[in-house]
């Protein structure tokens, strides 16, 4: 059973009954190899469709997950279970669970993968054990999230029921257990900003805990402002200084900036601080204040800086591969909707697109390797709905569901392009998709960049593909 991967979390979804006999058939050696070859932070098994599991079954699955963890330093565990399953876990493992348990995939993403919750989001929680309570709150705090702990289950349900529209809390968790946990530096995407949450000592270990591939990918897809939330950092040594300096110099090549927020004066020496400032690292008193300072955010994340890497121009090699991206988009749209889009125009220009009556949504994915660049797809709301209908059906519950569907759609097109390119011995890697609900954010991000701008007509409505570097 192949897992699907979302926000750097691999999720397996078995259905029915799990026992010692069938567990190894759910996750095979091939699946283990697949996971080990992917840039993931966690491998979880969703139990949302599991009726029953026994001790042998769950132990086998844990062994398999541990095998994946042996090949790649990741967090492992289960999610989407019911209360009876949660109780069963505690019974089987005698309250000493060597993995993580997350009520839902949304809860899991508060702790692992690329965090989708905005900094400052509130999470309602209930945990019986004090040590669990503390470690959950601490981990969330490290990630810039606010844990609101209910004193008992009754209070939890009461507060939850008062938040009917889900405006106050990002999510809720009352069957959570943080077992063995890979201490990676958590990353949140906050609008045009990437926030990394660090704590304790910034020393040599930071290089192992920091996901440099994700960071480079973010630079590749056009993120420019990278902020380290340092309020819980107690000390930065010479290795930490080198780490930040190197990041800053590398980011500068893309017009990017590194900033440290909330770093206490006693956590870094004056000379180290000057060294970092000389390397272009910015210091802010607190993340909260920075997030309120729209002008500064605009200045550093708005994409005004033109620099060596971002001034890369469209070249012949990339243009020669353009048909592959166009054909992938046409083929995917045809497969998914049964309507074949027609290419109606192609021009080399900057991204100029007028706001229409209907809202435009877009998604971009970077690629790097034998060729590098960025593929951008722009849809009207209606075309986006058609493209996502295969996943979401006719009833799309929320805008975020649609945006999620669009990322998946972009993944398919980019994945198909990647396969076709590899058949021509041109190997690329893909970044995570980035979506824009507001077309202005996209145009601003790509301001001044020339690319191949392709209009594809889907029935009476166009959608666009923009390929740039």
């Amino acid at each position: 059973m192949r897992p699907f991967i979302k926000h750097k979390i691999a999720i397996f979804s078995p259905q029915g009954f799990i026992d010692g006999n069938n567990a190894p058939s759910f996750i095979t050696l091939e699946d283990i190899k697949f996971c080990a070859s992917r840039e993931i932070d966690a491998a979880l098994i969703s139990l949302s469709k599991v009726v029953h599991f026994n001790k042998n079954g769950i132990s086998s699955l844990v062994q398999i997950l541990e095998e994946i963890r042996g090949k790649r330093a990741i967090t492992i565990g289960f999610c989407d279970y019911r209360l009876k399953h949660f109780e069963n876990f505690k019974k089987i493992f005698n309250e000493n669970i060597p993995f993580c348990l997350f009520d839902t995939q949304k809860v899991a993403n508060l702790f692992v993968g690329v965090i989708q919750a905005e900094v400052g989001s509130k999470v309602l929680l209930f945990a019986k054990e004090k040590t669990q309570k503390n470690s959950i709150a601490f981990e969330l705090h490290k990630r810039g999230l606010k844990a609101i702990m209910a004193k008992d289950e009754e209070e939890f349900e009461k507060i939850k029921s008062e938040d009917m529209d889900g405006r106050e809390f990002y999510t809720y968790a009352k069957m959570i257990y943080i077992g063995s946990f890979q201490d990676k530096i958590a990353s949140n995407v906050h609008g045009n900003l990437i926030i990394y949450n660090v704590a304790d000592y910034i020393d040599n270990s930071v290089n192992e805990r920091f996901d440099i591939v994700f960071h480079k990918n973010s630079l590749n897809v056009g993120f420019k402002f990278f902020v380290f939330e340092c309020k819980d950092v107690c000390s930065v040594n010479i290795h930490g200084v080198n780490f930040f300096s190197k990041l800053s110099v590398a980011a500068a090549e893309y017009g990017g900036t590194i900033a440290l927020c909330g770093l206490k004066s006693n956590a870094i020496t004056e000379s180290f601080r000057s060294e970092l400032e000389d390397a272009g690292v910015l210091f802010f008193s607190s993340l909260e204040k920075l997030l309120e300072d729209k002008e500064t955010l605009e200045e550093y994340s708005g994409g005004a800086a033109i620099n060596k890497k971002s001034s890369k121009t469209l070249n012949k090699t990339l243009i020669s591969k353009l048909p592959i991206f166009i054909n992938s988009a046409i083929y995917t749209m045809k497969i998914i909707t049964n309507i074949e889009p027609k290419k109606s125009s192609l021009k080399i220009s900057t991204l100029e697109i007028e706001e229409r009556e209907e809202k435009l949504l877009s998604t971009s994915m970077g690629f790097y390797g034998d060729i590098d660049g960025m593929m951008v797809l722009i849809f009207t709301q209606n075309v986006a709905k058609e493209a996502c209908k295969i996943f979401l059906g006719d009833e799309i519950k929320s805008q975020s569901e649609l945006i999620d569907g669009l990322s998946e759609f972009a993944n398919i097109i980019a994945g198909r392009s990647k396969t076709t390119l590899s058949q021509q011995k041109c190997n690329i890697s893909l970044t995570l998709p980035r979506t824009f609900e507001n077309i202005k954010d996209l145009t601003k991000n790509l301001e001044g960049k020339k690319g191949a701008f392709v209009q594809l007509d889907f029935g009476d409505t166009p959608f666009y593909l923009f390929l740039t570097r």
Binding site: I5, Q15, V51, I335
Partner: protein, 268 residues
């Protein structure tokens, strides 16, 4: 990708129930096994199927049974009806299996496992109703429908499933408004299966239909829903990729799952 036209195409390729089979069913409905055997002998394909199937270990006939009258006698009316239904389903087998790692024999194994488990469940539930017994024979038909509709889109299906957990049944519903069981039920109606069997099958798999059915039908259909996942949780059928073709509806089965599990443990 699969669309409503493809469903129409599939349905129009389903043969009507052959005359011989109609007559065999009529004889079985009148509990006339001798007449059923006599008619069966005129149909070589059916005769061959019966001989092959009933000599499998599940039926436990010790020595080879070759004589059709003996076969019917050994099967009894209820099992004979189940076997005839399984034969009807085998008439719509795909030419080759692409989506699933199955063969003709593997599919027969699936059919027998389903019938066997359902029979044991009904005994435990103290239900003696041949129309209810027959309802499980159409479960494997949904797998044939899936293979025949999605077989040529194996690659596309794989790509879609890499993005999120989505079953082929859900994809079909999102695209056409119909799922595998909607189609299996149309086939069952075409083959004039008993109404109660159809109702149970419908309630087990089509959420929207449950309000229409009697409470007892809905209750039994929960066991049938679980049966599908009990069978497709077996290692050989997980390996055949049958575990994630339709969605398990946990809310639907919640009140019977413990009872089902107790029964299933005994079955295993």
């Amino acid at each position: 990708m699969v669309d409503s036209n493809k469903i129409e195409e599939l349905l129009s390729s389903i043969p009507p129930l052959p005359k011989t089979l109609q007559m065999v069913i009529k004889a079985l409905n009148s509990d006339d096994l001798t007449k059923a055997a006599k008619i069966t002998q005129e149909d070589h394909a059916l005769t061959f199927y019966l001989k092959k199937l009933v000599n499998k270990p599940y039926f436990g006939f010790g020595s080879q049974v070759e004589n059709i009258t003996q076969i019917y006698g050994a099967l009894g009316v209820l099992r004979a009806k189940q076997v005839i239904n399984s034969y009807m389903i085998s008439l719509i087998l795909p030419r080759s299996w692409v989506l699933f790692d199955l063969s003709k024999e593997g599919f027969e194994d699936l059919q027998i496992s389903t019938i066997e488990a359902w029979e044991a469940i009904l005994i435990k539930l103290e239900i003696k109703d041949w129309e209810i017994s027959l309802s499980s024979t159409m479960l494997p038909a949904s797998i044939i429908v899936c293979e025949r509709l999605f077989g040529e889109y194996e690659n596309e299906l794989r790509i879609l499933k890499e993005q999120r957990f989505i079953t082929a049944d859900k994809i079909l519903k999102n695209r056409t408004g119909e799922g595998f069981f909607d189609i299996a039920i149309k086939i069952a109606k075409l083959w004039m299966m008993p109404q109660k069997s159809i109702d149970i099958l419908e309630s087990s798999s089509i959420k929207e239909s449950r309000e229409r059915h009697k409470k007892e039908i809905v209750q039994i259909s929960k066991y049938l829903h679980l049966l599908f996942f009990h069978i497709t949780s077996k290692p050989k059928f997980i390996r055949a990729k049958l575990n994630d073709i339709i969605d398990l509806d946990i809310e639907f089965i919640e009140d019977v799952e413990d009872r089902f599990y107790e029964i299933a443990k005994e079955l295993d």
